[in-house]
């Protein structure tokens, strides 16, 4: 199922599909490892404020506005570890 990263709950693993608009930080997101296709896990999403995710061995905090622009899908079961 495809949805916004901001809708995902704690401990859910998802795959980034694409980034909607927001070209100001596009390069920055790429530099932080948020390349389409990457698998990430939501660590803290309170339903308000920023959310934290872990990917490639680091933890990153994203403002809510930004998390709403990241389109993700659930990780396939076979890839889970």
């Amino acid at each position: 199922m495809i949805c916004k990263l901001s809708d995902k709950k704690n401990n859910e693993r998802v795959v980034l599909i694409n980034i909607k608009g927001g070209y100001g930080v596009y390069q920055r997101l790429l530099d932080m490892g948020l390349v389409p296709g990457v698998t990430l896990e939501v660590s803290h999403n309170h339903g308000f404020g920023p959310i934290t995710i872990s990917l490639k061995g680091t933890k990153i905090m994203l403002g809510r506005g930004l998390a709403e622009k990241l389109i993700v899908k659930e990780e396939k079961n076979s890839e889970k570890n």
Binding site: V35, H44, S54
Partner: protein
């Protein structure tokens, strides 16, 4: 002596600063890069027969043009052409750090990787094949443990080994795949036709950056003789790649870099079984908790204030004693008269006002460095972002606002540098001076003590703090809704693992920031103190006039003030301050407060013939104000409001000017906007209050 130039690079939180401190000790020079507000740090090491100059570049994740830091980092490497780049790698976070290395490799300089925190990798049971890593990347590798000062010597040896070698090792090039490589070659061939461009920049790097549509590089090629051919080829290549991959070229380039990195990692790294985040995760579960997060944040902030004020108190006392002692010496050494007055009141008094405050600032810097180095400050941004964004501010704005509260707006404005977005930074800088800084506190304390019942004193003080926050947040909201309207800015930030800071690191950080503050504040305050002294001292009244014989020395002092340039100016602006309940005396007091806010009190002291007034305990001044029939609680309150809001002190204005990129426009907004707002608020309070009472 032979010279070597080194650029020190690395990700934020990689331990780069610690390594820099280990390498250079305290022989560091901190300054600013011209035109931008990025700190420039350099150090010189003498090792064997070499003099090694180390340029510490800002910690960045990448070398794109997203932030000023990144632009500075790559400009220095390209323009200064360091002999060797020493890049610090957090070995526990190899993938993220090597991504940055792939970009460094394109700059075509020899590289030494300092594999920092090598001990933690060992402890976690991980193994890194350094030999293989060195071979794959074509770089030298030295494992280091920054906080134990291990590997520093080896780095120096490797630097010299590399320098002495005739044909230097150049890092390998990333393979972007045929499709992208073809386009890179096409662009490179055009670049090579412009010998000037080709000499100045590594052609492959330039080609990749053009494909990425890098803003700054697009601008760079405008001066090239090949600008037209280059632009056409760039658009053509980007278009071609987009069609081929169905993605923007910058995405594909980043993708290849990550692909390369993860390939390297799988070859050289045996991952530990345990999760390196386990402790950090556990702490974050509590610290970032939906309910506990805010109270913990409040507790930490309280801790910082408590630490700052409790422990700095004796040191502040010593500083005051030193200035008193200096004043005493000067008074006895210089005969009474203009020169004595100039040295004692003008120079020593003026400097003492700001330097007396210095220990407190240092303690606060230390406390903040502690929470930064542990990794908590990034969590504080997480907690505060939600509240801050509601008021048009940024998660990172809380630190400046906090620094200014009871502290000083000068370091606070410098702390806004961490906010990458220019608009967010400007809004934060504009509203920071509304906070109640340490110098405004004694003004409020004096007027509350003089005009309000003792049992309400604490409540009134609290009210002032609440008002400062309301005004700051209200204005930021207004600014964001009007002048700074537009796309909201975004928050992207790494949450580093929690670490135990080193005392040496904390002290150096404290000293570095303190020194910057001292340099900025010191020079400006000295200048302003001299101007103020002249304003209050000239023209001199005739001391020999017989009519003055009946007056006491203090009364002559008051008369001198009224007849000085400052006094005349006070009379001149009386019509402006009258509607807010003040006469010429309040006018001068407010004017003098532009030098530094606590000066408002000492000016009143002189006007009320008090002679020297101790700003911490102005008992007699309090009584003088109470006994003056001109004053009443309403006037006192509207005066306090004016002091809260109007033009920040001169040092703040000067620092604002520099930090705003020498913007006269925004500095005028700060100076006149705040003063106008102060006048309006004060006017309404005084006039409406007058109708009610």
């Amino acid at each position: 002596m032979k010279k070597i130039k080194i650029a020190l690079t690395g990700n934020p939180n990689s331990g780069k600063t610690t390594l820099f401190n280990n390498l250079t000790g305290t022989r560091q020079h901190v300054g600013n890069y011209p035109g931008v507000t990025v700190e420039k740090k350099e150090g010189i090491i003498t090792y064997q027969e070499y003099q090694i100059r180390v340029i510490d570049l800002p910690g960045t994740y990448s070398l794109s043009a997203y932030s000023e830091d990144e632009v500075v980092a790559r400009d220095v490497i390209i323009n200064e052409k360091p002999d060797i780049i020493v890049n610090v790698v957090d070995s526990t976070n190899l993938e993220r750090n090597l991504y940055f290395v792939t970009q460094l490799m394109e700059l075509g300089r020899p590289i030494i990787l300092a594999m920092n925190m090598a001990d933690i990798v060992d402890k976690q049971g991980g193994i890194i094949n350094y030999l293989l890593l060195s071979k794959i990347l074509g770089v030298k590798i030295v494992p280091t443990v920054g906080n134990k000062n291990k590997g520093t010597q080896k780095i120096l040896d490797t630097i010299i080994e590399l320098k002495e070698k005739q044909n230097q090792d150049i890092p390998v090039m990333i393979d972007y795949g045929n499709e992208i490589q073809d386009e890179i070659t096409k662009i490179e061939n055009i670049i090579k036709k412009d010998s000037e461009l080709n000499e100045k920049y590594p052609s492959r790097w330039l080609a990749v950056k053009l494909l990425e549509n890098d803003k700054q590089v697009n601008y760079l090629i405008k001066e090239s003789s090949q600008v037209n051919t280059l632009s056409v080829q760039k658009e053509h290549s980007r278009h071609h790649l987009k069609n081929h991959f169905g993605e923007e070229p910058e995405v594909m380039i980043a993708d290849h870099r990550y692909g390369f990195v993860s390939g390297v990692c799988s070859q050289v790294l045996e991952t530990p079984k345990g999760n390196k985040f386990s402790i950090t995760d556990k702490i974050d579960k509590i610290v970032l908790n939906r309910i506990l997060g805010l109270p913990i944040f409040a507790l930490v902030m309280y801790g910082i204030f408590k630490f700052t004020f409790t422990y700095s108190e004796p040191v502040v006392g010593w500083f005051e004693q030193i200035f008193k002692w200096l004043g005493g010496i000067a008074s006895s050494a210089i005969p009474e008269g203009l020169l004595q007055s100039f040295v004692v009141d003008g120079l020593i008094g003026g400097l003492g006002g700001v330097l007396g405050f210095f220990p407190l600032i240092m303690f606060m810097f230390f406390a903040i460095a502690f929470f930064e180095d542990t990794g908590y400050m990034a969590r504080a941004v997480f907690i505060m972002d939600r509240i801050m964004t509601k008021f048009g501010l940024h998660g990172k704005s809380f630190l400046p606002l906090m620094l200014a509260t009871n502290g000083c707006a000068v370091p606070a404005i410098m702390a806004t540098r961490t906010i990458e977005n220019k608009r967010d930074r400007m809004v934060t800088m504009l509203v920071t001076p509304f906070m109640i800084c340490g110098a405004k506190v004694p003004i409020f304390a004096l007027f509350i003590a003089a005009f309000f019942a003792a049992k309400n004193a604490a409540n009134f003080m609290f009210l002032m703090y609440v008002l400062s926050i309301v005004i700051a947040f209200g204005s930021s909201l207004l600014l964001k809704k009007t002048v700074f309207k537009g796309e909201p800015s975004y928050l992207v930030m790494e949450l580093p693992p929690y670490r135990i800071p080193t005392i040496k690191g904390l002290l150096l950080k404290m000293w570095e920031r303190g020194w910057l503050y001292l340099k900025k504040a010191g020079t400006i305050v000295l200048l302003v103190s001299v101007i103020m002294w002249i304003g209050f001292t000239f023209p001199q009244i005739d001391q020999n006039n017989d009519n003055l014989g009946i007056l006491s020395a203090e009364e002559i002092g008051a008369l001198q003030i009224e007849n000085s340039y400052a006094g005349k100016l006070g009379h001149l602006i009386e019509p402006v301050v009258k509607p807010i309940g003040q006469d010429w005396r309040g006018g001068i007091a407010l004017l003098s407060g532009i030098a530094a806010k606590e000066v408002v009190i000492s000016t009143f002291g002189t006007i009320y013939s008090m002679g020297e007034v101790d700003i911490d305990e102005p008992v007699s001044l309090k009584e003088a104000l109470q006994n003056d029939p001109v004053w009443n609680p309403l006037k006192a309150f509207s005066f306090m409001l004016f002091c809260l809001i109007y033009i920040p002190c001169f040092v703040t204005v000067a620092v604002f000017y520099r930090e705003s990129g020498n913007s006269l426009k925004w500095t005028s907004v700060l100076v006149f906007g705040t003063t106008l707002l102060a006048w309006l608020v004060s006017f309404i309070t005084y006039q409406v209050g007058g109708l009610i009472t």
